[in-house]
Point group: C2
Chain length 730, copies 2
């Protein structure tokens, strides 16, 4: 026996000398076993299956409320069931307007009627399903019938209106034409209405989305002349989901607002148009020449207006309640079954939605099949896995939001982490999310092989970052940091209700950057397009399944939840410095601008043959008392280091940490958003504002609010630090 033992030990030692120690995994005392499990998981993945699902799911238009959308939900549910998941379809009844009348006419100085439709292409097999395809429109535009002179407002964000003001141009009573980009689209009609415009057109300029980027479809991947970008314009930074049921699930018996009470429906009519339809309008404009960075790639001189181009815009919608079908599939855990790992990807598309969202959906399905295979072969997850295929994401995250609102209490009790995905394609790993998950993400990226280069996806991403960094200092800093830097989450996909309303640590995971796009929210986002340009070999579909699969498996199996708070604390400290610098920079800029106004500098420099209106003097930026926030951050950093240094952790603390960053009262002007570290910007829409209460108060020059929010945020962080201190001293 003894001898045998010695031999065994010697063998083990010999093995150890030949094979390197297994790479460590946060939360696992036996990483080798987990690596072995993941290798089995990888081996089960099948690209042909994903390709077949993608073709099937994208065969017909499948927006919320469509017949094929329902078919897809049922098909997805049948797959989950076939793999052994406890599967249900949850239905919500949501407001979803579809177009009845769409008219855009140039009525002066010449006449032109916009086509407003995407022609079928022989090279794109599904583009001819004209009767089923929802034509280009913006969901949650109000009905309207307006005529007005056109003003070009660039991206239509607040600072663009400052430029117009300098040029003596007022949009009151006018129709604005904005190009896509620079903000989430819903910001454009919101800001236009705030400035008194009566209508809004949003077009895809080929500079940002068209031939300037690459050959137009079908020759190349990029947006063609009559292709338009559909999309929601609900005021999502106020609240996402069904406009009629803010804060509660849109169940059959839910109490609903009247449509006129819904705060997120636009104040003015808005419609997206293609660049072939925009060109005659823009060409007919006059007035000051647009500033250089406002000019697109159409072969014209861009003018600001107003007019002489005069436009008639008429929009009417069918304001129907339609059913949304969320597919929810559970695999119950063993000893930690009351801890839920939630994974989601929407299934509705604006039209065929091959890339958006089905590229992500089929990778999630394949992941779920792989997990189920493991479960069938004897392994069981310690925690409970929940896969969600959301409906109605496109009109404004309705499927996920209504589900989270319906199940809020149990999710806050049980859900540890939410992992979202959406469109994915060939290229580089792209993860954003809660910074407590930075190490988990880094370790997963370390362990997934890039399909095109003989390195990990982490190494490939790092290589890209290094080639793109311009200064030696930044390169050094990047190389010295061993962790992948996660961007914070704003909005734009189904993580928002989880993270920012329920306070559940969340990630958004995808690949991209090399898969050419150019058909976003158009009728050409098709299977034919995806297999030419998106991910022809389904290499990155596999990589995506390997990546999110590893994240799920590690979260399901870990000894304790693999969260790390030091990275979070350091990141909050960076944000705090940003906010300090924001106030400092604004103060200096205000002083400078006010000095220039006193000295008439801008007026002296301005061309007297052109309109010029000097800005008004701004109130000086006071010194804010940031000390409560600075003290809270300092405490947080210390508490985090002590906490992470402990040999193991209590999941009951870890899984509720993110929730501690929320307050039930929510953010100013938008109580639905409860997270005090991450929020979509009130004037960016998708773009994140970290420490949003403080940052946006400063940006909006509300000094009293800024001081209040500093104290509130400091309180949130102090409470979080105390949780760590209490948990760490266990």
């Amino acid at each position: 026996m003894r001898r045998t033992l010695i031999v065994a030990l010697t063998l083990t030692t010999a093995l150890a000398a030949d094979t390197p120690a297994p790479k460590p995994i946060l939360g696992f005392s036996d990483p080798a076993k987990e690596h072995a499990l993941e290798a089995r998981f990888d081996a089960a993945l099948n690209r042909d299956e994903m390709r077949a699902w993608l073709k099937r799911l994208s065969a017909r238009p499948h927006h919320v409320g469509s017949p094929y959308g329902k078919e897809n939900a049922e098909f997805i549910a049948s797959l989950f069931r076939s793999w052994g998941y406890d599967t249900a379809i949850e239905r919500f009844d949501v407001l979803f307007p579809t177009p009845k009348t769409r008219v855009v006419e140039l009525v002066a100085p010449t006449r032109f009627t916009a086509k407003l439709m995407e022609p079928p292409l022989p090279e794109d097999a599904t583009s001819n399903q004209v009767s089923e395809i929802l034509p280009p429109f913006n969901a949650y535009s109000v009905d309207g019938d307006v005529t007005g002179d056109l003003v070009y407002v660039n991206y239509g964000v607040p600072k663009d209106y400052e430029v117009l003001e300098r040029n003596g141009i007022d949009v009151r009573g006018k129709i604005v034409i904005a190009r896509y980009g620079g903000s989430w689209r819903g910001i454009k009609p919101k800001v236009a209405a705030e400035h008194g415009a009566i209508g809004c057109l949003i077009y895809s300029d080929p500079r940002d989305d068209g031939y300037f980027q690459g050959d137009a479809y079908p020759k190349g991947a990029y947006r063609s002349d009559y292709s338009a970008q559909r999309g929601s314009v609900a005021d999502m930074p106020t609240y996402p989901g069904d406009p009629l049921t803010p804060g509660v699930g849109a169940t059959a018996d839910a109490k609903r607002l009247n449509r006129s009470e819904a705060a997120t429906i636009t104040k003015i009519p808005v419609l997206p148009i293609a660049y072939a339809d925009a060109l005659p309008l823009l060409r007919a404009m006059s007035g000051p020449v647009a500033p250089p960075d406002w000019r697109g790639a159409l072969p014209i001189t861009y003018h600001l207006g107003a007019g002489p181009a005069r436009v008639h815009l008429k929009l009417e919608f069918n304001w129907n309640l339609v059913p949304a079908y969320d597919v929810i599939a559970r695999l119950k855990g063993t000893d930690l079954a009351d801890q839920w790992i939630v994974r989601g990807n929407h299934h509705d598309g604006w039209v065929h939605g091959a890339r958006d969202p089905l590229s992500g959906q089929v990778a999630m399905l394949e992941e779920a099949r792989g997990v189920a295979e493991l479960a069938k072969s004897g392994w069981r997850p310690r925690r409970t896995m929940i896969y969600c295929a959301w409906d109605a994401e496109e009109p404004g995250l309705l499927g996920s939001t209504e589900w989270v609102e319906t199940h809020l209490a149990e999710l806050q009790e049980h859900a540890a982490v939410y992992i979202n995905s959406d469109s994915t394609s060939r290229g580089f790993l792209d993860v954003a999310g809660s910074h407590t998950l930075e190490r988990l993400v880094t370790e997963v990226a370390r362990d997934v092989e890039d399909p095109q280069r003989n390195v990990s996806v982490l190494e490939r991403l790092n290589a890209l970052a290094i080639t793109e960094l311009t200064s030696p200092e930044k390169q050094k800093e990047f190389r010295d940091r061993k962790l992948m830097r996660l961007d914070a989450l704003g909005s734009g996909s189904d993580y928002t209700p989880f993270l920012q309303h329920a306070g559940i640590a969340s990630l958004n995971v995808g690949y991209g950057g090399e898969g050419e796009y150019g058909v976003y929210h158009s009728a050409y986002d098709s299977f034919d397009h995806f297999i030419r340009f998106g991910d022809p070999k389904f290499d990155y579909e596999i990589a995506q399944a390997e990546t999110t699969g590893r994240m799920s498996l590690r979260l399901l199996n870990a000894d304790f939840l693999p969260l790390e708070v030091t990275t979070f604390a350091d990141t909050v400290a960076r944000y705090e410095t940003e906010v300090e610098n924001l106030a400092k920079d604004m103060r200096e800029e205000t002083e400078e601008q006010n000095r220039e106004l006193r000295e008439h500098t801008m007026e002296i420099a301005a061309d007297p043959t052109k309109p010029f209106v000097a800005p008004k003097a701004a109130e000086p930026v006071p010194y804010l008392d940031l000390s409560p926030l600075q003290n809270a951050v300092a405490r947080l950093k210390t508490a985090a280091r002590t906490f992470d240094a402990a040999p193991s952790h209590d999941d009951r603390i870890l899984m509720h940490l993110e929730h501690a960053l929320t307050r039930d009262q929510g953010l100013p002007m938008r109580p639905w958003y409860r997270h005090h570290v991450y929020a979509p910007g009130y004037y960016t829409g998708y773009g994140v504002k970290t420490l949003p209460g403080v940052r946006e108060a400063i940006e909006q020059r509300k000094w009293k609010d800024a001081n209040d929010q500093i104290v509130i945020l400091a309180g949130v962080l102090e409470r979080y630090a105390k949780m760590l201190e209490d948990g760490g001293s266990r």
Copy 2:
């Protein structure tokens, strides 16, 4: 008597209390008298006269060798004579090729023949003089008949070829198409030939020069679809002037090179084309999509090639010697008649040349008339004034260069300062030149009223600078500096032979920035265009005459020449720091690039479906011994301060200071260029390279040369410092 004196003194005191002390003028012990003279000068200026001259001189094409060019020279000479100047026309016989055959054809994959001509416009009265107008061509292109696949090379500068190399594209045996901009045009065929191309097309992209900037002519000012930019492509950074007579005047009996020996004629045929002619060629191209900053404003996807667009380019020229007529007009000084102030502006234009050069020419004529009026009314200049109206500037500064080469010895003996002008228009003062003249220029700008705003042209220029500066640090630095910052002179107009060959302190003076252009070197640079867009009220023609007139008058009348060496020394110190940083930055970039090559970073990041060729490892940048230069600069700064602090100065030293910055051996590879502080860049053409011997050796990674040039430059600056020390201790 005594009482009278007291009363007189009291009166003087009282006057002094009411009227502020006259603004000081460098070189004048009695500035009030000079201010009064300048007020009389201003009062004599007449905008109607300038307008009439501009109309007359631009009535027909007047390129060198043309009948109307000769008429203009004779008319200008008759004006000078009528005002009392001792006037002569000096003739040189110079090589000036004109086009015989110009063919640009797309021969594959489709066929297209370029029009290569600018259509007459009813809105532009002189655009129909088709028989006299030289069609678009590049002077000093070789004859050639080549066919090859097209490669798009962006601006065609050396770094663009590095990008092509990364994309696996070789231009050997190909025809390149470059857009105008990014360098002087002559650099494009030079660099293309160095890389093995067989032909070169240069087109005006509407992004840089056309509708992207503003409405096209005749609706607006900007370049229209068939308008092309003529211009010289002689290798001017090697030597300007007649290609057959480098270094000597092209007099009737001058020894001339054979054409085949002339180093400045291009190695490959080159032709400028309009964007309407370029569009079918660029549209027919394929290959990798051009990088974002290479893309212009044509409504296409920009591809690099090579091919499948295949082009036939055939060019033949009449290689004639033609007469160039310089008009030289003198007004002899009194006690300092052997000190010459030289003032020049060319009179030849590519076609009608209303803006370029006649806008500058008529302002110079008006200045000369104003000076003559003063001279008729009793005042006499102490120093000698020489006005020069140059011919043949457009093909490569021939008129000025041949004159300077012919009169080199006497100019170096007598010429104190050369003041050049060229195109001028509405807007902001723009002066570049020798930094010893920075205070003179600042004081003049202080004393000229802006025609549009109730401030001096200096205050208006400062206001522009402040609004354009982005950081508070830069704004503070700018406000604290009391002097106008002169840019250094590279090349592009007739100051080059004076400054960089003869070593005479020089300025180039004009206004602009608000007068819209867009017709540079086209048949539409006309009187009609100028009075709509250039300077409709001739306001800035008056300002230009007031500005250069003041410079001339102050240089003519000053007690001692108004040069200041401290500003020069401080500027050289800045240049020295730039050169240090250049070497440091190149060292870091080289280390980083070589590291990335060792680690395959670029390759890992590159898209494997696209061509990618990694750069070769570069030789590390050694540490250079900059100490001789640093010591010379330190000595220069001390010597300059002591020198400037002396109460008066010896003109014999001041007028020869600039010459001390030259060496008869000239710069490496181009001995004609003798100045060691200012030179046009060997690979920029017009763009200046300060401390050119050292800077270009570093840029070109010639480390041995760099160390040699450091010692040479240090010697030049030490000699200069010694002149100051010797002169200052007088």
